[in-house]
Symmetry: C2
Amino acid sequence: MTKLRIDLIAENLITIHPLLYKSISRPLRNCTSITPAGMFVLGNLKRHGILSMSDIGKYLSMPKPHITVIVNKLIEEGYVERQNDPKDRRIIHIHITEKGLSDFENIKQAISENMKSKLVMLNDEELEQLSTASQRVKDILISILSKE
Amino acid sequence: MTKLRIDLIAENLITIHPLLYKSISRPLRNCTSITPAGMFVLGNLKRHGILSMSDIGKYLSMPKPHITVIVNKLIEEGYVERQNDPKDRRIIHIHITEKGLSDFENIKQAISENMKSKLVMLNDEELEQLSTASQRVKDILISILSKE
DNA sequence: TATAATAGTTATATTTTTGTAACCGTTATA
DNA sequence: TATAACGGTTACAAAAATATAACTATTATA
């Protein structure tokens, strides 16, 4: 019973994934130079605040050398900054800049606009349902697979 | 009011997207040689049946040359096959093979197993909620942004 | 029938993503 | 204090995704 439910959840998420990829990651290229991976980093910085390089690697499940590349590019463009930890000088804290925050919001807004053209097909009840259901999926997914 | 609701939906989906990427696309590499894009193609073939190259391009929002590359690789590995259209010989229909279907199911099962280790943290009520909510998100997203 | 439009492929180049090994500096520990 | 462990970077290689132009074959249309 529980197994069936878990399979259904996996099935649903596997179906949702390419639809989001198509309507979020893909349109990104047309409105910003930030790569999808860069957006993921900014999103985590916004949600969690300052993060070390290793933390970012855990949140994204990516090896550290890749994180260095992504963060370097974000720094080049002024979206994040490095901060040394005075207590443990091995650790480097990454924090999002004002520009990073505002550009991130603008890009989300652009994606939202893009999505609006599809969402207008829905009536008020469906909109309400999608709003509630996506909120629930988001909250639960964050709670179980956010870190590591 | 409606605008606020649409913004909330976009915000939720943008947050969900990297979580799915991390728990679906990334673990794929460890259990199969099929690329994420290949999985997207197989998923659409399973849902919609036989599709032309152009149809696949629309469902994935990818340019046709890229589709050729993806499909060629799927053919090499025996997951899909080409079929000529006798009525319009420009059109090539792609259909999924038995092997494609069964491997696709196995991979979904593997992802489901992988996810199970996270989902066990949820109690029955949360599991029920996630199941219902993800179903609703899936159905509505398919209805509005499946094609083109 | 000449021309335009469609479906798909080939070729090419660039960017992004992925992965691994080796390395440096710092901190912890035996 | 010598050694191991940790946090991060550099360097390198390879696969995947992206984009565009040019091309073939076929069908539609004027």
